[in-house]
């Protein structure tokens, strides 16, 4: 047996993964790559979840409501200590941007894999962050200098900035607590709705207002910073395709970012990171206007949902970098020297009904089959048999492709979406195929209002009902004779087909 001293420095004894779903699985995989054991936590609703099975060990931490499980800081830290975990990775969402979490980890002597509570607190409060960054010389969108208290303050600020305006949660992210207001008469109700959503999502109803830039692109820069003073950016991601202010398709490089704009924005991103005294992985979000002008929006102090596209074009494992940086190591040489190669696109697979206003869809996944092939990656938190509940965010998985150029990446993604089969709950795969195949998308005219602008009148798919009935009939023939009872057979003549396929690959179907 090799002596411990001869091995490369052990990063951590064991990492508690304080999340669920695809990001928990993603973090567990990075830990495995680095040889660090993992502990998953789960609520009673998730006892059979994929992340629970993926980790080396798993501990139940409470009932389904997030406040009693995935948001319970004291319980999570106590669980880490009881199970000899010396580090916690928060993933994204839940506690990932709650500065009390790193602070309490520090008190307990557990390493938080992410920034300090201090820089998280600064950047997490979007209002404070803007004040600080305007001082550092980073361009900002006109709007409120502080959070609004009264409706009169909002009205005054909106009149000054000019309609349309955007209401945002100070503690926000992910589109929650966010509203666009086109006319003064809608302002009051939107502020109230944004406050309610913010209160629910972040337990903080502070909202503010800014001018809404029309025809903008959402461009963000990935940054890494270590404890040795190295700060780098790993190029941009364009995340303009959004519905209800939540990203659904992301890509890199952006068709709108020229080498000169990339240089300027990259420099600004590094400047923001340094001004925030930030350590670990982060993302600097900008709006890019038609004329190449860009405005700092906010910094996300966590690993992003869309981090894989950056990994595809740079070859850097961002979660592994997070873990190494938290252990006090330098940013790896390969990341320091990373270049941008090829093109990558990510589609978020949400449990939602695109044909019905993107309403969340819940239920049991009856059939699940992932696409595969060169340059195709699936980060998933679900599989056949997974029950998708209403308690948590409806993101199920992410499909990521890599190709030499944008056109090929688009084709590859369309084919992969067609091959990605999820039955039993609604997902927006067809909607994303239609976006990717749209001439305006192919032409790169991807502004943040792309979906409202281009995807209003989509054809009904009812003309496929006949084919669907034909396929259902074929499926019924390949079922065992016993289970055809009650399936609407007018004649029950046994055919050789009825003896085929008495079971289904991938999962058992329980009644």
């Amino acid at each position: 047996m090799v002596k411990l001293e001869n091995m490369s420095k052990k990063l951590f004894n064991k990492i508690l993964v304080s999340n669920r779903g695809e990001i928990a699985v993603r973090v567990i995989n990075a830990c495995r790559l680095l040889g660090v054991p993992t502990l998953a936590i789960y609520s009673t609703a998730d006892k059979d979840a994929v992340h629970v099975k993926a980790a080396d060990e798993a501990v139940e931490i409470g009932p389904p409501p997030p406040r009693e499980s995935y948001l319970n800081i004291d319980k999570i830290i106590q669980t880490a200590l009881e199970n000899k975990c010396d580090a916690i990775h928060p993933g994204y969402g839940f506690l990932a941007e709650n500065p009390d979490f790193p602070d309490k980890c520090k008190e307990a002597g557990v390493t938080f894999i992410g920034p300090s509570g201090e820089s998280m607190r600064l950047m997490g409060n979007k209002v404070q962050a803007r004040i600080k960054m305007s001082g550092a010389g980073v361009p900002l969108i006109p709007g409120m200098k502080a959070a609004g208290a009264t409706i009169e303050e909002f009205e005054k600020a909106a009149d000054e900035a000019g309609y349309p305006v955007l209401i945002k949660a100070a503690a926000g992210g992910g589109g929650k607590g966010m509203r666009v207001v086109k006319e003064k008469k809608d302002l009051k109700e939107s502020v109230e709705a944004a406050k309610r959503e913010a209160k629910n999502a972040f337990n903080d109803d502070t909202v503010y207002l800014e001018k809404y830039i029309e025809d903008p692109r959402h461009i963000e820069f990935q940054v890494l910073a270590d404890t040795h003073g190295n700060v780098i950016h790993l190029y941009e991601r364009e995340c303009s395709i959004q519905r209800r202010h939540q990203k659904i398709i992301e890509e890199t490089p952006s068709i709108a970012v020229t080498p000169e704009i990339r240089r300027q924005m990259g420099e600004a991103a590094v400047k923001v990171t340094q001004a925030a005294d930030y350590v670990n992985a982060g993302t600097i979000e900008f709006l890019l206007d038609k004329n190449g002008g860009f405005y700092f929006l906010e910094m996300n102090t966590r690993v992003q949902v869309e981090h894989p596209v950056t990994e595809m074009v740079t070859g850097v494992d961002l979660v592994a970098e997070q873990i190494k940086i938290a252990a006090g190591e330098k940013i790896s040489e390969s990341a320091m020297n990373a270049v941008q190669t090829g093109h990558s696109i990510e589609c978020r697979i949400y449990a939602e009904d695109a044909e019905n206003g993107f309403l969340p869809s819940s239920g049991k996944i009856l059939f699940y089959n992932e696409p595969a092939g060169p340059g195709i990656r699936v980060d998933t938190g679900v599989t056949g048999g997974t029950v998708v509940g209403v308690e948590y965010d409806p993101i199920l998985a992410k499909l990521i492709v890599f190709a030499p150029d944008r056109d090929l990446a688009i084709s590859k993604m369309i084919n992969a979406l067609k091959d990605y089969k999820i039955l039993g709950i609604k997902t927006s795969r067809k909607f994303m195929i239609d976006v990717l195949a749209h001439p305006e998308f192919k032409a790169g005219r991807t502004y943040t209002d792309f979906i409202d602008r281009n995807m209003g009148d989509r054809e009904e798919e009812a003309n496929l009902a006949e084919l669907a009935a034909a396929i259902s009939s074929a499926a019924m023939m390949t079922k065992p004779a016993l289970s055809t009872a009650g399936y609407g057979l007018k004649q029950t003549r046994l055919s050789p087909w009825q003896t085929i396929g008495a079971w289904e690959i991938g999962m058992r179907i329980s009644k």
Partner: protein, 164 residues
């Protein structure tokens, strides 16, 4: 073999015959030659273009994916009763929550005149607020819940009196 399916209130009858490793299905006079491709998967040629499909049958529903397009067909039970559809399908005078959740805000009160697509209630589920719109023109006859109540998908939140 004859099968029946319901799709959005439309009855579709199919006639099925296995043939040379394929399944030939006739629907409304159109013939589809379907190739089983293993594990609930099928392929079919439509006007020379190949489509890949996937299908699973559970209880009284058939879930079908054709190149990413999802369709759910109801399989009527043998006594002819339409067991499927769940609450609310096709009902123009009742407003249901799209999924179990909490009522954030009722936007109308009993007696209010409403128009089709007018927002009636905001329901929160999966941390998002979802606006539920009126299915038709009419008058609010009855409201069965109040702000803050938990709702399921079986009891109508609002009942309407439909305008003639």
């Amino acid at each position: 073999m004859i099968n029946e399916f319901l799709y959005k209130d439309e009855l579709i009858e199919t006639s099925v015959e296995p043939k040379d490793g394929r399944v030939e299905v006739s629907v409304n006079g159109n013939l589809y030659s379907i190739i089983p491709a293993g594990a609930n998967r099928f392929s079919v040629d439509i006007n020379g273009k190949k489509k890949t499909a996937c299908c699973i049958i559970k209880d009284n529903k058939s879930y079908v994916d054709i190149d990413g397009v999802l369709l759910e067909l109801i399989i009527p039970s043998e006594d002819g009763a339409n067991a499927g559809g769940g609450a609310g399908v096709g009902e123009k005078d009742k407003v249901y929550a799209p999924m179990p959740g909490k009522i954030v805000k009722l936007l109308v009160k009993e007696g209010d005149e409403v128009t089709a697509k007018q927002p009636l209630v905001i329901v929160e589920a999966m941390k998002m607020e979802n606006q539920v719109n009126s299915p038709s023109d009419g008058k609010v006859k009855k409201i069965n819940f109040a702000d803050g109540d938990q709702v399921d998908t079986d009891t109508p939140i609002i009942e309407l009196e439909i305008a003639e």
